[in-house]
């Protein structure tokens, strides 16, 4: 944050650096948006702004059952995995930040281990296990590994949030006549809301973006998610270049993420706990 006495030169330097970072991050996004609006003929003309605008690419992808089906799979799987991970993570994080129970260090250590584990080394065993259990190419077959890898993330993020909530508030609630459950629901949970939403966004993006599990643990449209479906895109005929359609699909799948973030952003009000305790 630039304070009032920051020299003008420093402000400019920081501003420039910010611009460089933003451009670096956004150029590929803008490029793919531009591609998605181009006609097949102008696709390779190398112009950043399309010469001929068309919505044909979007019509194409929504006309194919392949993409719509994958979109439904993606949304369903990501939402369910997020919901379960956040609920479980909230309870685990609350216990970790508030209670001293035997094996707490071990639990935190193990969850860290899971987060660190290279996922690619698990793909083959998971493939075998899921085939044996009949989970291969089903929604639960993806939801379960997603929850497993999202939980450590959720627990870490949420316990950081819970630790910020003054313990005195809970004691005060108990003195005011609340049960443990009421204290959690009416005092702690509303204050932890920003943390819960932040975690939800992170977990959702993790599930939404996953390609590795999605391509290894699915085989048909039944449970194939969008990132995988994209890689199978061929276009109308074998000879048609699917670049436009892939670009359109790529743009479409960023939309839910943006909506998700925008929707929850209003609730991520920093400093919600200010005024609780002294100061």
């Amino acid at each position: 944050m630039a304070s009032l006495d920051t020299p003008a030169g420093a402000k400019w330097r920081w501003g420039l650096l910010d611009v460089v970072v933003v451009v670096f991050a956004l150029v590929p996004v803008l490029w793919i948006m531009s591609l998605s609006f181009k006609t097949p003929a102008t696709l390779t003309d190398g112009k950043f702004v399309p010469r001929e605008w068309t919505l044909e690419n979007y019509r194409t992808i929504f006309a194919t059952d392949q993409f719509v089906r994958a979109l439904v799979n993606s949304i369903g799987i990501a939402l369910i995995a997020t919901a379960v991970a956040v609920v479980l993570g909230t309870m685990a994080a609350y216990a970790i930040s508030r209670l001293d129970f035997p094996g707490k260090k071990l639990l935190v250590g193990v969850s860290l281990l899971i987060a660190m584990f290279p996922q690619v080394s698990l793909v083959s065993p998971l493939f075998e296990i899921e085939r044996q259990l009949g989970l291969f190419d089903t929604w639960p077959g993806l939801i379960l590994p997603y929850i497993t890898f999202a939980l450590p993330l959720a627990i870490y993020t949420l316990s950081a949030f819970f630790k910020q909530i003054p313990w005195d508030l809970e004691k005060a609630a108990k003195m005011d006549g609340a049960t443990q459950g009421q204290a959690f629901r009416r005092v702690i949970a509303p204050l932890a809301a920003p943390g819960v939403f932040t975690t939800a966004i992170l977990v959702f993006i993790f599930c939404w973006n996953d390609f590795l599990f999605a391509i290894s643990l699915t085989s048909t449209e039944r449970s194939r998610t969008v990132p995988v479906a994209l890689s199978f895109f061929t276009g109308e005929s074998q000879f048609e270049d699917p670049t436009g359609a892939i670009s359109a699909a790529a743009v479409v799948i960023t939309v839910p993420i943006i909506l998700f973030v925008l929707f929850f952003q209003r609730r991520i009000v920093s400093g919600l706990t200010s005024g609780a305790v002294k100061g």
Binding site: P166, D168, L169, K171, A172, A173, K174, M175, D176, G177, A178, T179, Q182, R186, V187, P190, L191, G271, L272, T273, S274, G275, A276, V277, K278, G279
Partner: protein, 402 residues
């Protein structure tokens, strides 16, 4: 409305440390009791045990005659004000105060009436729709009190409620707390580390040290008749002067010269097990500029001369610091008190004597001055166990008593 009885209540943590050992205390219905002591003395733990936020390891706690050891805080019907205030930041002032009533499932009209009443008492009416974040420290403190009084509990527990306020506001809120407690007549247990708060607020003061009660009594009694070195040093500001003394042939040899002792004291000191090395305790106000003392008064004390170090004129009095020869008095209690006030690392050579002289005194820094000291008011302590030897049946009679 209820009395609170602590019957040998103790707290031992799982790692074996004893935070509170066998506290016996009877708090009468409507009484205002202060728990005071340096940090780590077990006063907050004791309060938390009364509240039910900490388990009681041993002994029995009775509220209104009923054993509550195993009851949850919400079943004890007591309210607590926290040092941090612990207001719910997601609720307005009104919702904060209504929270305990809502949990008690009162109907909306009753809740509104009670909140409005409490808000009026604490002058919070204009702030009812604000959130804690938009309140000043003093206002937050009042909301915390409002939340406590609104449901008319059996007792109030207050854990250093004023220590986050600035000095001026603290003095002001002290009178508010005092007036409120008198008006409501609710049994109150108040924890503080500030001896001034303890002296001014309580009907009775409990002084704690290392998890044990040192002395219980009305403020004036603790001041006049301290049971031991710790109480004597803790109560009073500026605190009591302590000087080492040696008992020899019916007299006390001190840095102030030889002091006579009365018959009763002498008999005690001549007993076989009596210590020969003692600590003399004299409060600053028991000194006077020798020029201002009349002959009648002069006979009740001794005079000595000492170099004046510093003069602080308070307008009504003068605090005069003298340098006196000889060793500093040493005892475990004194070291603990010094550590608590942060003065431990601040020791000059020789000892310093703090006196409170009349404003008329013409004393000046750097000069040698004759000072009179009232012998009827001095205390003698045993350095080994800190006991006040001048105390007889709870009264301190000074060193001269016959």
């Amino acid at each position: 409305m209820a009395d609170i009885v602590l019957d040998k209540v103790g707290k031992r943590f799982p790692d074996g440390t004893v935070a509170v050992s066998e506290v016996d205390l009877e708090i009468a219905d409507g009484e205002f009791v202060i728990l005071v002591g340096p940090s780590g003395c077990g006063k907050s733990t004791t309060l938390n045990m009364i509240a039910g936020l900490e388990d009681i390891s041993s002994g029995e706690l009775r509220i209104g005659g009923e054993r509550v050891n195993d009851k949850a805080p919400r079943d004890r019907d007591i309210a607590m004000v926290f040092q941090s205030y612990a207001l719910y930041p997601n609720m307005t002032v009104r919702e904060n105060m209504a929270f305990p009533l809502k949990l008690a499932k009162l109907d909306k009209a009753t809740i509104d009436r009670k909140v409005d009443e409490a808000a009026k008492v604490l002058e919070l009416t204009a702030l009812l729709d604000r959130r804690p974040a938009n309140l000043s420290g003093g206002q937050r403190q009042r909301v915390a009190m409002g939340r406590a009084i609104v449901r008319q509990p059996k007792a109030f527990l207050m854990d250093e409620p004023l220590s986050n306020l600035d000095a001026k506001l603290r003095v002001q809120m002290r009178t508010v707390v005092s007036r409120l407690q008198k008006k409501l007549g609710t049994t109150t247990v108040y924890v503080t580390h500030d001896q001034t708060e303890a002296m001014t607020l309580g009907d009775r003061v409990v002084i704690m040290r290392g998890g044990a009660v040192q002395q219980v009594g009305p403020p004036q009694e603790l001041y006049d008749h301290p049971a031991n070195l710790f109480v004597a040093g803790f109560i009073g500001s500026p605190s009591m002067n302590f000087l080492p003394a040696t008992a020899e042939q019916g007299r006390l040899r001190t840095a102030l010269g030889e002091l006579p002792i009365g018959d009763r004291m002498r008999r005690e000191l001549e007993a076989g097990n009596a210590p020969r090395e003692l600590i003399v305790g004299i409060r600053p106000e028991h000194f006077e500029d020798a020029e201002l003392v009349d002959d009648e008064t002069r006979r009740r004390g001794v005079e000595f001369a000492a170099p004046v170090d510093i003069v602080e004129s308070m307008g009504s009095d003068k605090y005069v610091y003298f340098t006196v020869e000889g060793e500093r008095a040493t005892a475990a209690e004194l070291e603990e008190l010094a550590a608590d006030s942060g003065a431990a690392e601040f020791t000059g050579a020789g000892s310093n004597l703090v006196t409170r002289l009349s404003a008329e005194s013409t004393v000046a820094e750097g000069e040698q001055r004759r000072v009179w000291c009232n012998l009827e008011k001095i205390h003698l302590f045993d350095p080994a166990n800190g006991r006040n030897l001048t105390l007889h049946e709870g009264r301190s009679a000074g060193a001269l008593a016959d």
